[in-house]
């Protein structure tokens, strides 16, 4: 058996922690083995020496000092808790705030720039479409182009003054009835807008296409535009106009009166 193993066995023997069998084994070795017996004597002396080390009394001032510090702790605990912001805390807080603000600002700027770019692209696209549309409506040489332009205008959600002006001119000047009717339909879609309304009222006095005149009278009467009553009286009594146009004007007077 190794020395360390005997150490452990002998310590347990001295501490009286061995079973009867192990105790017998140790006692046998103590009787027959000088080295084990010496090891035992040394361990017993060591353990006895440790056993004899007495406890020390702490100085009385230690209790006094602790009690004073305890009272300080109690006072501190009763005071409202405040957060001690050391320069390091400030720096960390500032860094976090900057990160958050920077991130937020960056995100906002990025979003804003993205939206702005999208808006500009849409505006460019609309302008190009409108220019194309007005070019089509102004094309005196091609009725089909003007009709197509008026049809495209009909699908638009809103119209600016330029488009209204072009549509109103088309309504009056277009060489074919279909183009003028298409322009009238396009303007009718924006009839809630004051410039369109005024353009339609003006067109009633200048329109010379009977089919367009009838359509225009119906539209303005549907819009309950009473300012056209005087013009309707003129039309209804104009001997040069077709009876169908005069009848439509007369019917309009009855509906608006």
């Amino acid at each position: 058996m190794e020395t360390n193993d005997w150490d452990s066995l002998l310590i347990d023997y001295i501490d009286q922690n061995l079973s009867a069998a192990d105790r017998g084994k140790v006692e046998q070795a103590l009787r027959s083995d000088n080295a084990v017996r010496m090891q035992y004597e040394q361990l017993r002396e060591i353990l006895q020496a440790m056993e004899q080390v007495g406890e020390q009394e702490p100085p009385a001032r230690m209790t006094t000092s602790f009690n004073a510090r305890l009272q300080e702790e109690i006072r501190a605990a009763k005071q409202p808790r405040t957060i001690s912001l050391t320069p390091t805390v400030y720096r960390v807080a500032a860094a976090i705030a900057l990160l958050v603000l920077g991130g937020g600002a960056g995100y906002w700027i990025s979003r804003h720039q993205q939206q702005q770019a999208e808006l500009e692209a849409m505006q460019r696209e609309m302008k190009a479409t409108q220019e194309m549309l007005m070019a089509m409506l102004d094309n005196d040489l091609s009725a089909s182009q003007r009709l197509q332009g008026a049809t495209v205008a009909l699908r638009m959600d809103r119209a600016d003054n330029d488009l209204i002006t072009v549509l109103a001119r088309t309504l009056t000047d277009a060489p074919t009835t279909n183009v003028r009717l298409a322009a009238l339909d396009a303007l009718g879609k924006f009839s809630h807008e004051r410039p369109v309304r005024q353009a339609l009222i003006k067109a009633l006095s200048t329109q010379n296409d009977p089919l367009v005149q009838i359509a225009l009278i119906r539209m303005l009467v549907d819009m309950k535009e009473k300012t056209i009553l005087k013009e309707l009286h003129r039309i209804s009594t104009d001997e040069q106009l077709l009876n169908e146009v005069k009848d439509e004007a007369h019917a309009g007077i009855l509906r608006l009166s």
């Binding site: 150490d7 060591i46 353990l47 004899q52 080390v53 020390q56 702490p58 230690m62 305890l70």
Partner: protein, 179 residues
């Protein structure tokens, strides 16, 4: 009231109860630290620090846990922090040459028991953990179960380590005796 009940009261904000815990434990903790630091004045400061930590870290006390195990753990931490801070703890060994200046009151050189002095010198050659194990189990007579809890290990492991420490202490002791 049990230690655990007192500590729960402290945890719940009744800090005055800490004075009772101090009464019960200050001598034990002071001796533990004095044995290990071989310095009464230092042990006095460290003991107060231990109890201040008990108060300041009261919320970390787990209800139901043995208070004794917890305060010894704090004591070990306070000692380790002291050594860490002071950088005066050379390796794992106590400054044996200057020990006579820092030994307890009743260890005046003229009256000091030769065997106890020899024991102190032999102890100084052990590791910090071995010294703590021997102080707890042999000087302060704490059970292996209690020490296992303080050291956060098993009883079997503690027993093996204690026996090994005693074996090494025996070797140092009788080697020094021959010098």
């Amino acid at each position: 009231m049990t230690d655990e009940m007192l500590m729960k009261a402290v945890k719940d904000g009744d800090l005055q109860q800490a004075s009772l815990l101090f009464e019960r434990y200050n001598k034990r903790i002071f001796n533990f630290l004095a044995y290990l630091a071989s310095d009464r004045v230092l042990a006095e400061d460290l003991t107060q620090n231990v109890f201040l930590r008990v108060i300041r870290y009261r919320t970390s006390y787990r209800e139901g846990a043995r208070f004794e195990g917890w305060i010894y753990q704090i004591s070990r931490n306070v000692l380790a922090d002291h050594y860490q801070g002071q950088k005066r703890h050379r390796s794992q060994f106590i400054d044996v040459e200057n020990m006579s200046d820092t030994l307890p009151d009743n260890t005046d050189a003229a009256e000091r028991d030769e065997k106890e002095h020899l024991l102190q010198r032999a102890m100084a050659r052990l590791t910090e953990e071995q010294r703590q194990l021997l102080v707890l189990t042999r000087f302060q007579h704490r059970k292996y179960e209690e020490v296992a809890q303080i050291m956060n290990t098993t009883v079997a492991n503690i027993k093996v380590k204690v026996h090994r420490a005693i074996g090494q202490l025996r070797e140092h002791y009788f080697t020094l005796e021959k010098i």
